[in-house]
């Protein structure tokens, strides 16, 4: 099923939660909506679910208008499933009942499923590896198990659009990593379109086909994880997704002169024209390196954080604070005067080089 959002605005009183949103979700696509809290990502999801209606603009599903400023189809009349941030398990029902409920009531259940509800319950429980816990009550489940029940309930009626509202945020870090894999697998098996809301950029980068970065009710950029990470269009995307230092300077073609120092020249082939127009260079911490001498930009180390596999330095350069990640072999201390360089080989180039080496 395809879903289109056309020029959607949403206001709560005088507060504008969404501003001119346009988004296409293709059949079977995994779309992550990424942004800080308060950016409007949950509002957008609730609009797709039918818990809210747009102030203006239109939402289409399967070439049918389902919401505009005067009309909206309620959630129970949309072909959707949803996983809630808090899991939203019903405390008085056991695991089996949870899966059974949508199979009884979902209005888009195929004839085939209608005749084999009990079989479907078993099938779904098997998919999330919960078959042996079917009689348990929610209060007797661990966080990860609750999450599996919530997922199973959402996918049981085979909805064509699956909405997920920060489903992993109430789990601890290790469990979160494991659940990522399971969600990806479910996506492959169910082939449903997924809209996945998160504030965690690594979750979005790891799982999504398309990432929609939102900020203050606007869409900042839509693209594949790689595009979003390595070619951000806006300063916000660069700093939110890639944690990049936004370096001011002068552009000349693909060459960048930080702080207009003509003696230092950085290669900015991968930087988008939008950022070039703003005279900015997005330098991610892992793209930079430090040395005690040389021809880099001069700065002073003001903070050192040892991380094990690398060290995070804060360097004050021309009154601005940059973050630089260095491997543990080069050690600097607070107060050291250092020179900051752009690493010669960016990620993309290294790959090319390796290929060349390989072929050589």
């Amino acid at each position: 099923m395809t879903t289109q959002i056309r020029n959607v605005n949403k206001s709560f009183g005088s507060y504008k939660a969404l501003h001119q949103i346009n988004l296409d979700i293709k059949e079977g696509e995994f779309v992550a909506i990424l942004g800080p809290s308060g950016c409007g990502k949950t509002t957008l999801l609730r609009l797709l679910a039918g818990f809210d209606s747009p102030s203006s603009g239109e939402v289409w599903m399967n070439h049918k208008l389902i919401a505009n400023s005067t009309f909206f189809l309620p959630p129970e009349k949309r072909n959707i499933g949803m996983v809630f941030q808090s899991f939203a398990l019903w405390p008085h029902m056991n695991v089996r009942d949870h899966i059974h409920f949508p199979l009884q009531h979902h209005q888009f259940l195929s004839e085939e499923l209608k005749t084999s509800i009990d079989h479907r319950v078993d099938e779904v429980l098997k998919m999330v590896d919960m078959l042996h816990l079917g009689e348990r009550m929610p209060s007797e489940l661990s966080g990860g198990q609750k999450q599996r029940v919530a997922l199973a309930r959402a996918i049981a009626p085979k909805p064509s659009l699956l909405l997920m509202d920060e489903p992993l945020s109430s789990l601890d870090a290790e469990l979160r990593m494991g659940m990522r894999k399971e969600i990806q697998q479910l996506h492959q098996v169910t082939k449903a379109s997924i809209v996945y809301v998160t504030h965690d950029q690594s979750e979005a980068l790891a799982m999504a086909d398309q990432i929609v970065v939102m900020n203050k009710g606007n869409i900042e950029q839509i693209g594949t994880p790689k595009e979003i990470y390595s070619s951000p269009n806006t300063p916000f995307v660069a700093s939110f997704v890639g944690k990049a230092n936004l370096v001011k300077g002068k552009w000349e073609g693909a060459a960048f002169y930080p702080f207009h120092q003509l003696s230092i020249k950085w290669d900015g082939t991968a930087v988008t024209s939008e950022l070039r127009a703003k005279n900015l260079f997005p330098a991610r911490p892992e793209q930079l390196e430090l040395s005690l001498s040389g021809d880099g930009v001069k700065g002073i180390i003001t903070n050192v954080q040892y991380q094990g596999k690398e060290i995070h330095y804060t360097v004050t350069v021309e009154g601005e604070e940059w973050v630089v990640h260095q491997d543990i072999f080069a050690e600097f201390s607070i107060g050291d005067e250092v020179y900051v360089h752009l690493k010669k080989w960016t990620y993309g180039k290294k790959m090319d080089e390796r290929k060349e080496l390989h072929f050589a």
Partner: protein, 571 residues
Amino acid sequence: MLQNVMSRVQNQNKWWFFIGVGFVLIFFVLPICRLVYLSFSSEDGFTLGNYTSVLQDRSTWKTIENTLYVVGGSSIIAILLGVMTAWVVAYTNIRRKKLIQVFIFFPFIIPSYITTLAWTQFMSKNGYFAHLLSLLPGSVEPLNMYSLQGIILVMGFSHYPLVYLLTVGVLRKIPRDLEYAARVSGSSKWQSFQKITLPLALPGIASGGFLAFIASLDNFGIPAFLGIPGNIRVLSTYIYEQIVGLVPNSFERAATLSVILGVIALTGTFIQWLLLKKTKHMETAVEDKEPRFLFSNRTRFTIELLLWSFLLVTTMVPLLSMLSASLIKAYGLPFSLENISLKNYQFVLLENQKAITSLKNSANLAIITTVVCLVIGTGIAYVRTKKPSMMTKGLEMIIGIPYALPGTVLALAMIFAWMEPIPGWNPGIYGTISILFIAYVTRFLILQVRGSITAFMQVDPSMEEAARVSGSNGFNKWKQILMPLIFPGVISGALLVFLTALTELTVSSLLWSSGSETIGLVIFNFEQAGYSTYSTAFSSIIVLFILLAFMVVAVLQKVWDRRMLHHDHSN
């Protein structure tokens, strides 16, 4: 087609909107408007004459003075007792806190006129207290309950649970670190209580104090049982006497006094509401139920002993003396085996037609009121929690007014509103049991609304949303998801409505007519006519029934909880 659906949905909403506003206007706003209007009217139209004549009357001022004494005195007792018990229960390591809490709530559960009856028996010339005093040297007489002091004492004991209730939660929510920080900074236990705990708990305490203040203004049973025989009047009984006494201009005078009393009560409610809002910022804080003051076994035992003696003397002992008075053949005989009989019970349950009718009436009133409030109140609570707008908030406040108003004031407003709903047309509601039914729904609806709102608030909105994305909205969503989740909270609200309606006295004392007597009224009439044995017997039956009802509901909730948590799974 979509356009059709859309306009239908909107029209439906509009219909509900108009029905809701109409309902509130007719049942809640109009009666009060009529009361205010009457207080300003005479045969010649608009006048301030009612106010000037009432306020020039010396007995009005004497009444206001008495009211101030009673309200002030009883509120102070309630605050002192409430704060002390709340502190002990919230912070110390005494045992059996749950049971203690049950005893603290006791005066709250038993209607105040029954408590009053119990106290008069306890303090009577041949009651338990007199026996106790006769053991002491010298001739000390028990306190004469038919006095201002008597009224103040019983009212204070009846209302301290309100202060306790609002204070204990606030105390538990104050993080213990705050007091520890004060102690580490060098202040003593007492200083840190004064400078940290007390100021932080003050909004809760003050809010409870105002609640006690309003409850004292509203109370009719205590001053009616203790004040009327001794010619001590407070505003609520004074209004009652105006109407019952049928003096010239009685209705205008009563209306005027009611407006004065109503304004005082609503001002108090408003201040209480403001204070309650102030404690709201702590709402997200978790209640810390672990004791903070670990007393040694001896100190703890002393505290427990004091607390239990207080609780037993103020709750169980008066009730027991009432019970023993009801079991005696004739009033005045000593309590001994040969004087015991059940003939008083036989009289009120089998022989006295008025008492039998009143049982039926009150049961009918209570059941119908509970069912109606349950449906309407839960509906309103649902809309209120789902769509928290100024509109629904205003609705809730207006629905709360009849409960915030003293019962006598509301009863009077009901008479004016339903005697001739449209001037010149008397549908015969006043003078039958119907007016009591309307008055009860109007007055007690807010109890169910509040109970159900609390129940809905405890259900995360995503519970319902999950049902909706699963394709269910309407009957199945309510039956399978919402009802089971809100049941325990809703049923507590319904129990409160049921018991309050069952034992109601104030409103029915003004709205009753021959054939529509209520339990409270019959007990009141027995007592006024001097039949103490009958009134105590009837009261004892009611107390037993109330306790039974609470036990049934408690068991019901426990069973429900167990089903929810599914403790008995085999694993």
